[in-house]
């Protein structure tokens, strides 16, 4: 009986939502919009020096984002010397590979990059729920069938988390924010050894 109770408790703890686990208090369901304005200026070229660590290997290059039109972005990665490694287009929910180096043209990898960069550049989402803790707001949303949380501190988007069963799978961290640009961005995967580090150079 006692074992049953303990395992029930574990089960319940396992069911705690991401908000509850982080001591956020859930507000009423809200239809507020969430905005990520870090890639929202069509006039700007967003250029970052990138460092990608994947399974113990590390390589660098330039990570370039351009907003072409509303809900339409180009995301390109080149070597420092300018050779293109990949070139993607995101238009609403659509994803197009304009170019990818043969060596990287693998479905599993493409799926990861597509999912990560879609979230990175997307501007407007509709919140499913909102919760608060002190000065922070946590918005829950869904992007192409995956659950995400947007953490906003003092009006600034600092973190996006993809969550599965209440656990963090991918974390996007935005820091050194000035002029609506995040000078430092990190994309950290929790279940695979992949970390993308971006430093603005323009």
């Amino acid at each position: 009986m006692r074992y049953l109770l303990i395992s029930l408790l574990f089960l319940l703890a396992g069911c705690a939502s991401y908000q509850q686990r982080n001591n956020f208090e859930i507000q009423e369901v809200s239809d507020e919009g969430i905005t990520n304005s870090y890639f929202s200026d069509v006039v700007k070229d967003y250029v970052y020096k990138a460092k990608i660590d994947v399974y113990g290997k590390s390589f660098g290059g330039l990570f370039i984002v351009k907003k072409i039109a509303e809900a339409h972005h180009r995301v390109v990665f080149t070597t420092e010397m300018g050779a293109k490694i990949f070139d993607f287009s995101f238009h609403k929910d659509e994803f197009k590979v304009n170019y990818i180096l043969d060596e990287m043209d693998k479905k599993i990898l493409l799926n990861i990059l597509e999912r990560d960069f879609r979230v990175l550049v997307r501007e407007n989402e509709k919140a499913i729920s909102k919760s608060i803790k002190d000065n922070s707001e946590l918005f829950e949303t869904e992007i192409v069938n995956k659950k995400y949380y947007y953490l906003i501190n003092g009006g600034r988007l600092n973190k996006i988390v993809r969550v599965n069963n209440g656990k963090e799978k991918v974390v996007f961290l935005f820091s050194k924010i000035s002029d609506a640009t995040a000078k430092n961005i990190q994309i950290l995967h929790k279940n695979i050894k992949l970390a993308i580090n971006l430093k603005s150079i323009n």
Binding site: V47, K49, G60, E80, Y99
Partner: protein
């Protein structure tokens, strides 16, 4: 009507301010560049790199220094807006990315070795190999421009053409590497010094 045609013709010729060289002019240039390359033991130069992507508002500008030592040592070093260098040495690339060192061995990939050789040769400008390239020669005011289109399909998949500009002495002043998509990387050299002694320490990892 005739005026419009004249005007159009004028505009077209203004855009194409370069004219094709005669065969004699082309072989003279080739000889000059080859003999210049033979006399060259070292090159040190500053460069500015312009990465052009069609969808961007501005080219991405980076700059740094180049060092070359005969026969095939090249150090390509970016100083602004980040510190990054790559040394082409034997069959390896030695990378120093803001202090973090790594190396890549190219010996297993014939393609990368070929691409590597191309970069090293383009620094000297001596790429006049008609088995490897379709070559076209142009005059452009005081400079000459040569277009090298790789014939090998495996290479042309990455680089559609190299456009190399030479000054009157036959030194490379600009390299443009054009991708199949027509996006390109343009490198403009300045303060280019030939045969200044360069110590091996420059090429140490």
């Amino acid at each position: 009507m005739r005026k419009i045609i004249y005007l159009l013709l004028l505009m077209v010729s203004a855009i194409h301010a370069q004219t094709k060289m005669t065969n004699t002019e082309a072989s003279l240039l080739k000889e000059k560049v080859k003999s210049q390359a033979e006399k060259t033991n070292t090159i040190s130069s500053n460069f500015v790199q312009y990465k052009h992507l069609d969808f961007l508002s501005n080219d991405i500008v980076t700059s740094g220094n180049l060092a070359f030592k005969n026969p095939d040592l090249v150090k390509w070093e970016y100083v602004k807006p980040f510190v990054y260098s790559v040394i082409f040495k034997n069959e390896n690339l030695y990378i120093n990315d803001e202090g973090k060192k790594s190396d890549v061995n190219l010996s297993s990939s014939k393609l990368f070795k070929q691409l590597n050789k191309l970069i090293v040769n383009s620094v000297k400008g001596d790429m006049f190999d008609e088995k490897e390239f379709e070559i076209a020669y142009f005059k452009k005011e005081a400079t000459s421009e040569v277009h090298f289109r790789p014939i090998n399909k495996k290479i042309s998949k990455y680089i559609k053409a190299f456009h190399i500009q030479f000054n009157a002495q036959g030194d490379v002043v600009e390299i443009k590497m054009i991708e199949p998509s027509d996006d390109y990387t343009r490198i403009v050299f300045s303060n280019r010094t030939i045969n200044k002694p360069l110590s091996d320490a420059i090429f140490a990892h």
